[in-house]
Structure formats: structure tokens, C-alpha cells
Homo-oligomer: 399 residues x 3
């Protein structure tokens, strides 16, 4: 058989993940190692089925609701692709960029949009302490709505990026790493450099570096977090990374030197992010409606930022990685020197060399999202995968 | 059998509603009592099928076109849910808020969007004399287009709220009432208080109170319309209510006292709306492009409005209803004292107590819309319901 | 049999068009006569199937991505209808009106939106030298992405209007002409007047007149291009028209007189467009960000435009056509005297008389788009059409 559904079923048979049924996906570190492995197995299985023209539609009708606080072509298309893959029609809920809904409104809106919703994907990453909280409020509301008989089904929530974690991105990154290294069993002892890099646009979310150290420390790898002083990430997430590393037999260390992080690294992830403390301050100023204060803060941040233009993923630095051939990761779009900006996160020749792997890295995201929905909606995933194969509906009709 | 399709078929077998085939839904009072009952029966049947995981997709492809003059998350999702339930893909037509299309443009656009459209849902409630008229122009255009061979099918129009009626809302309200009271046969002699209530945002459409008195008077209930002086609704609709009451053996009365309306009421529907006369004036000013005039009018209206802050659904008033337990209705979102505003339509503790029934009330809307489309598109609804059950396609694949 | 699938299969059996498989549709003159004929045959076949309630969904899931540089209700609905007809769900990509993406961004975005995309429809007609170029960049990117294993399928590109051609419009126009004249065999020697007409809004794209002369010269007709001095179209496209005419046994001539073009014409297509030279200048000014220059140019163009108000499709002119009954074509919306403007492209009574044929003309577009996608995605179109008929899935479930 060309497609290897049984292989994925065998993988799933060795894992315990029944807790994911009827659940939601907020943070990777709330899931067990076996649950994380189950997401990867289902993502691979769905991809194999699609590549073999076998339909993976488990829904014959139903809605997937997307809610984005800011414009996001890529995330929107990833979510739409995942929904389409499973048979859900996407409906976008536009609540506006700046409006942060509270209490009654969240509870009510969450129910009003969910009468036919099987999945809700939310991206809300702009304000510290808000995004993840908002997602949990939505889940609380629809869970109650379902319990009370208002909703015929409880939609499953997929965190498409919050102030704390970016699980769909980081799990796509990780699945890419697993494929590039030929299996999760080959990752022990590999060195990962999650490092800050300069970008002219300050203020990028912290969810990627936090998500990466919170996830990649689970695989026995040596994860190094590097950044200039003042660009600390959330201490709680560093604590997660430390605990993960201790448990997995890997390590989690920090350094203020990009060069040190890159030295002998097997994987590098150089990316700009905003200082956590500044983001907290911005959230407070925003809550107070202090526009002048926000402007002043931005000025300070840009000046601080500009002092670190030397934090760039250069050819010189890449040469210091393991065999000069570390796997370069980025969540895209990257700030490329001389292409999208004068000085940025990466030199053009480095980016060029890794373009195809970078695009492949991104290509896992729709499948990761679909797998998260699948595991929340399907009681017996192995049986379902077998049933999809047996049903054998062609995605592109060919008979 | 868990799902009771035969029960709904039996109900339909006792009704005459063949006039709905190939029709449209503009105003409830243009439909016979049996046609209204048929919508309820089909809505219940579709819901029962979905709750039992049986697909109700009667369309294998086709578009449902939504046209909203103002932003409307809830109506949008209700329509999208109904379309999805039947197998239609939603395409939004954005004509802009203020632009009122005329003659040639309406005729042409209506045809250009309808080549694959099986249903068109329009919400156009902002200007007196315009919304319902616009819907009829659209229907005229597509009917002619179909007759001339331009369109392979005539899309059915569903009025998602106009200047006169709000049929999908009021029929969802009514179906909720029927379920809460255990059947339409239990409604005779029940007292309904449709009353004005204060809201800081003046200018809400009249379609809800008009729709409620135009529909609920058909069931032998005693419907009381209460509002302060100056908040009259359209006289034509009051006439409809009076005629309905006479025919159904109920009554339709008016009062200027909220307390009188609430006394011994079985059902209360306290809700803000704008004065009809003022809305007419605003429409004229708008047509003349008289921005200063509109501003001046708004000032007067807000001042007039502020004199009636005592029109609020309080615990004290609720205590005067039948057993202190009248069913509280609202089309949502409500203006809740101390939650969404300082003074509003309802006290927070009243709203809290009725939250679940209110959400349930809203949950009927997608099924009402779907039933309206179903009855316009399916020549033999009973046969189709049986066929859907026999087909037995699972909504969420489980085999 | 009511639907004549075999008839269309027979037509296709006489044509060579295997080069369309896995291809794209940029310009009609890049396709052979037989490939153009194959698009017409498949469009007719899909329409016949739909008219007979037979599903033409060849995709069980998958996305159709639409990318429009400007608002376009009609094109949007045509593309959405075509995708829906084939089973693709539409996802709109909004890149903004003015932003012209370059190099890395195009390459990356094209891949990021295409993980599940089977078709991409682009309308980008505002700047000379940009639109068609952009489409080719997108195709290059996704072709490379597919080759590298990033994309499981290469989406097919459909040009929904560019700076050079408007193939879906002009092929819909042409299919309408073929039907009106009872077959392509009846077109030899017919006179077509593609003429400029006055509109108060200067600056309409040249893609329609260019597309018309580039396509209609292929059928042995006598195509006359008429416009005032200064309203020349691209010389390259005139060259295409000349070569087509020579090959097809028809003719391509130019005149500066609308009356001469209309005289004894069988088909007239009076429509406003902008002067090519001015559009080139505007593109340069835009690239330089020269707002003042653009304003000055607009002034000149409007003045120049206003000198030609006599270029109107009047009853008087229509009377001079073959038997006074030429087929009047327009891509809609038209500028109608006394309806959408004071002076425009056509007199109201002429437009009124041709309304139904005009709407029919437009009704071919969704089928043309669907046929382009079909021929790019289906390896054996004849076998597929037979299979769709044999499958016999009802579009509107009736069993």
C-alpha cells in the first residue's frame, strides 16, 4: 500500500491520549508527551492520506470559526486549510483589533457563533495576560452552553497564537525537525539555539520563543535561549523549559551571546521578539488609554532595539554550527538583510539556502491544526483512520 | 428510533403549505397559520436530525448569498449556520452601509450574484420604507432573470430583518415559547407583554416589536404592547396584530404603563426601540443628505429617551408577573444595568437568571432560517425528510 | 437523455488540448484554437450537467484562492460560483489595493496560501506591466514549491483580469456570441465593432478591448477596432489580432469613426477605456509616488475624455447595424445615459432592449472559469464528464 495508515495506527496504539477527546489545545505543556506524540502521528497520517488522494473529511457539515485580533494571512489560510481538510466550512468572526471583550460579551458571543461550530481557532497575541485568558473564557462559555443544551456540540478550541504560547507553530516546527532528522529517536543530545535577532520592527510577540523552549526541551535536546539583556521571556515559561529538560534528559541554558548559542548547534531559530517587561508595560498603558505613554515607550524600545543590530544570522555564524550545516528555522516572514529591510534577522544568502526547508516547515501547520481538532472530536482515532482508508473517497474524483 | 422524523412528517401531513414552494419569506403575516406551523415543524425536524448526527444537506453544491447593510455577527452566523446545515456555501455581498441601490443596479447586481445562488439573506433595517422594498426589488429581479433563462434557479429570499418585520427572529422567539410551554396548544389565554425599555443607545429598529405583535397575536394569546408616548410602532402593523387577535381568539391591547403590561404576564419581552415617527424623519433627512438635521434630531431623541430610564425590567416588576416567573425574552444583545451600561433594559440579576433560556431562544434561529429555505426549495418536504432519514448520512463520520 | 454529455464528449474527441493539463490560463492567444474550443465545450458540458441537477463536483475538498487588487463583486461571485461548482471552497486573500508585492514576498505568500489550494484566481489590472507579470511570478513560485515537495499539488492560475487580457470575460462574451449565432460555424464573415465609448469615469482598464480583439479575430470574423485619437491599445495586442485574422480568414481593421464601425455590424461592443499611453505614464508616476503628477495627469485625461461625449451607442447608430439588430455586448456595469450618469456609453432604450442577452452573456463566466480549472486539473476530461454523468449525484437531493 502506498499510504501507510497502518503505520500511524501502530504508533497511536502505543500511546495514551484519551484525555484529548472532547478537549481543547491551549498550551503544549498542558499535554503529556504521549499526547504530543499523538498529534504528530495524526498529522502525519492525515498528510499521507491526502497525498494519496484519500479524503480525510470526518465532518459532512459544520463550521470552523476563526477569530483573529490582527490581520494574519498565513494563520488564516492554515486554519482554513485544516478545516477544509476535515470538512468544516470557515466563518471568520471579526471583533476588531483593539477591542478586548469582557465577561458577558464573551460568554454571549461565544455561544451565538457556536450553534453549528465544531472548532474555534483564536489568535490573540497582542496583550500580555489577555490572549490565553480570553481563549479560556470562550471555552468556559461554550462548555456551559453545551452542558445546558444550548449547543448541540462543544466546539474545540485551537490556540492559534496567544501571549504565552504558539502551539500550532511550534508543533509544526517540531514535526519538521523530526522529519529532517529522520525521527524523534535521533534528537537526543542535539543542540537547539533559540536566539533573539534584530528586526527594525520592534514588538513582535514572545509566543514563538516561549513556545519553542516550552516544547523542544521535551525531546532530550540541549536547548539554548540567547538574547540581549532586557529581552527576557516570561519566567514561568523558562521554568517549564527547565522542568522539561530535567525530565527528558536534555538541558535548558541561557546565554547573552548569539555566537555561543550558535556554536556547534544542530538547529538554529534566530528571531526577533519584544522584551516581556516592555510588553507588560504596553498592556497597562493600553488599558489606561495612555496614547502618549505608548508613543514614549515605543521610542525607548526602538532605541534599545537599534543597539543590537549585530544580532543577525550571518554566514559567518552559520559556519560555526555543527558542520556549518545547522537546520535553520523561522516561523516566517523573516526580516532579510537587503531584501525586506536594510538590517534584519538573517543574511539573504542564508535565507536563500534554506528557503525550501522553511516552506516545508510551514507546510506542517495545517496538518497540526487538523490533528488537534481530529483528536478532540474523534473518540477512537485509530478506528477512524482505518475507516477513512477503507471508505477511500477520492479527494480529486478520478474514477 | 431516537429521532422522531415521522412525528414531524405527521405534523406536516395535517397542514397545507404548498404555496411556500418556490416562494420567499418577507413578512410573517403574509403566510397562513398553517404555513407558519410548517416552518416550525421543519425547523424542529432539522434540529432533531442534526442532534442525531443525521445530515440534512439537501444541496450538494450551491451558494447562499448574505447581504447585510450593517455589521451583524449574530445574524451572519445564523444565516451561515442555516446554509451550512443545508449544504450551501455562504458568500457575503458587501454593498456598504449607507449606499441604497436603485433600479438598474439592484436588478443587475441581483442577477450577477445569483448564477449559482439558491438562497439570498438580506438584512436592511435602517431606513423606514426602504429595507422591505429593497428585498422585493431583488426578488423581482431574480424571478425575471430565472424566467428569461439567465438564472438556472430562482434563489429564495429570506428577510433577515427589515424596516417592518424581523421574521427569523420572531419565529425563533415563538418556537422557543412553544417549546417552553410544552406545545402550541398550551398558549391560549397566555399574556404576552411586548414592552419598550430604556437603552442609552436610542435608534434601535422597530422590527422586533412589530414582528412580535404581528406574530404572537396568532396563537390566541393576550398580547399587550406597552411604550411611553412618542414610541408608537407602525400603525399598519398594529392593524395586523388586531386582526390576528380577533381571528385567533386572543387580544391585542396597548398601554402606556410597563407595570400594567407586566402584571400577571406569562411572557415578557422588554426591549428598546426608536420612535417610528422619528425614524421616518431620519430617513427623509438622510435622503436629503441633511447631516445637520440628523444631528439635531439625534439630540432631541436622546433627550426624549433619557426621560424614560424608569422603563427597565427590574426584579420588582418581574415579581408581578404570573407566579413571579414569566418567561423573559430578548433578541440579544441586551443592555444590562451595570454590565453593558449604567441604566439599561434589564437588571443584571434578572438577565442572569434567564441566561440559558435566552441562549436557547437564539439557538432556534438557524433552524428557522433553514426551514424557510427548505420549504421554498423542496417540493415534497415530508418525502424529503423521510429520504434524509433513510439516507442516514452521518454529519460526523463515525463508522 | 435530456442532458447531452455525449455530445460534448464527441466535440472534445475531435480536439487536441492535452497541453492544458496541469497548466494555467494567462492569455487567450497563448492557447491554440483547439484548446479554446475545448474550454467552450467543457463550459457547455458543465452547464448542461448543472441544468440537469447533476453534480459537477470533481473536488471533495480543496481551496480556491481569490486575490483581487480592487473590489469586485461580480468577478468575486463568478470565481466563487466556479469553485463551488467544482467542489472548492473559496478563501479570499486580501493584499490591499495599492501594495504591489515583489520577489521574496510573492514567492513566499504564494506558497503559504497554497498548501491546500487547487486553484488561484487573480485580478490585477490597475498598472501597466504589473498584473500579468505578477500572475506569472505566482505560478513560478507554486510550481517550484510543488517540485520541491512543499505543495502536494500545483494550484492552477486563472487570470481574472490583468493589464493585458481579460480571458474569462472575453471567452464568456465569445461563448455567448456562439450561442446567439447558433454555432461557431455561423460566424465567418460576421462584422464585430469593438468601439470606444464615452464614460464620465476615465481610466477603465484596457483588458476588455484588448481581450476582445485578441480573441474574436480567431473565428473568421471582420473585427473593427474604433476609438478617438489618443485611445490606442497596446500595439502588441493589435499585432496578435492582425495575425489571428490572417490565419482565420477574417480581418482586423481600425477606424477613428464609431459610425463606420457600427455600419452593418453584426455585433457591437461599445465600451470606455483609458488611453494606453496615459496608463503607462500613470504607472510610472505611481511607482515614483508622484501624487501631484497623478492629479495633473487625471485632469488632462478628464479634459481629453470630455471631448468625446459623442461616442455613445445611440438608437440612431444601432439602426445602422445589420438589419438594425446587431447583438449588443457589454461586460457590465455599463454607463447608461440618464440612469447611471448624464452622458455615458449607451442610451437607456438600447440597454433596456438588450438587458436579458447582456445578463446571459455574463452568465457564461462562472462556467468558463470552471472549465479552465477543470482542464488544468483533469487528465482525461472526456472520461471525467462521462464519470460525472454515470455517478449521477444530484445537486439538489430529490430522491
Amino acid at each position: 500500500m502506498v499510504y501507510r495508515t497502518q503505520e500511524f495506527i501502530d504508533r497511536l496504539n502505543q500511546l495514551h491520549f484519551s484525555g484529548m477527546y472532547d478537549g481543547d489545545f491551549f498550551l503544549t505543556w498542558e499535554k503529556t508527551d504521549e499526547e504530543i506524540a499523538a498529534v504528530f502521528a495524526v498529522a502525519d497520517a492525515l498528510r499521507a492520506l491526502r497525498e494519496n488522494n484519500i479524503s480525510t473529511k470526518i465532518f459532512e457539515s459544520g463550521l470552523g470559526v476563526s477569530l483573529f485580533r490582527d490581520n494574519s494571512t498565513r494563520t488564516r489560510f492554515s486554519f482554513a486549510s485544516a478545516c477544509n481538510l476535515l470538512g468544516l466550512e470557515v466563518q471568520d468572526l471579526d471583533e476588531g483589533k483593539s477591542q478586548i471583550a469582557h465577561g458577558e460579551t464573551v460568554r454571549e458571543t461565544a455561544n451565538m457563533i457556536s450553534f453549528m461550530a465544531d472548532a474555534i481557532g483564536i489568535r490573540d497575541d497582542m496583550y500580555i495576560g489577555k490572549g490565553n485568558r480570553y481563549m479560556r473564557d470562550v471555552v468556559k462559555a461554550v462548555t456551559e452552553g453545551h452542558r445546558q443544551g444550548v449547543l448541540e456540540q462543544k466546539p474545540t478550541l485551537v490556540n492559534l497564537q496567544c501571549d504565552i504560547d504558539h502551539p500550532t507553530q511550534c508543533m509544526a516546527d517540531m514535526l519538521h525537525v523530526i522529519h529532517e532528522f529522520g525521527g524523534v529517536e535521533n534528537l537526543k543530545g542535539k543542540k537547539v539555539a533559540m536566539t533573539w535577532a534584530y528586526s527594525p520592527s520592534y514588538g513582535k510577540p514572545l509566543s514563538v520563543p516561549q513556545g519553542v523552549i516550552g516544547l523542544m526541551t521535551r525531546f532530550g535536546m540541549d536547548v539554548v535561549l540567547a538574547h540581549p539583556e532586557g529581552y527576557e521571556v516570561m519566567p514561568e515559561v523558562e521554568e517549564v523549559a527547565r522542568a522539561n529538560a530535567a525530565k527528558s534528559g536534555g538541558s535548558f541554558t541561557k546565554t547573552g551571546s548569539m555566537a555561543e548559542a550558535f556554536r556547534d548547534a544542530d538547529i538554529v531559530y534566530p528571531k526577533s521578539w519584544a522584551p516581556f517587561a516592555a510588553m507588560e508595560k504596553r498592556t497597562d498603558l493600553y488599558a489606561k488609554g495612555d496614547t502618549e505613554g505608548i508613543k514614549a515607550l515605543e521610542k525607548v524600545l526602538l532605541a534599545q532595539n537599534a543597539e543590537h543590530k549585530d544580532w543577525c544570522c550571518t554566514e559567518e555564524l552559520m559556519a560555526t554550527t555543527r558542520g556549518g550545516k545547522a537546520l535553520y528555522l523561522h516561523c516566517l516572514p523573516a526580516d532579510i538583510n537587503g531584501v525586506s529591510c536594510e538590517d534584519g534577522e538573517v543574511e539573504a544568502s542564508v535565507f536563500d539556502r534554506y528557503r525550501t526547508p522553511l516552506y516545508k516547515q510551514a507546510s506542517f501547520k495545517p496538518y497540526i491544526i487538523a490533528a488537534m481538532i481530529f483528536l478532540a472530536k474523534v473518540k477512537e482515532p485509530q478506528t477512524m483512520l482505518k475507516a477513512l482508508e477503507d471508505r477511500g473517497t477520492e479527494r480529486l474524483f478520478r474514477k
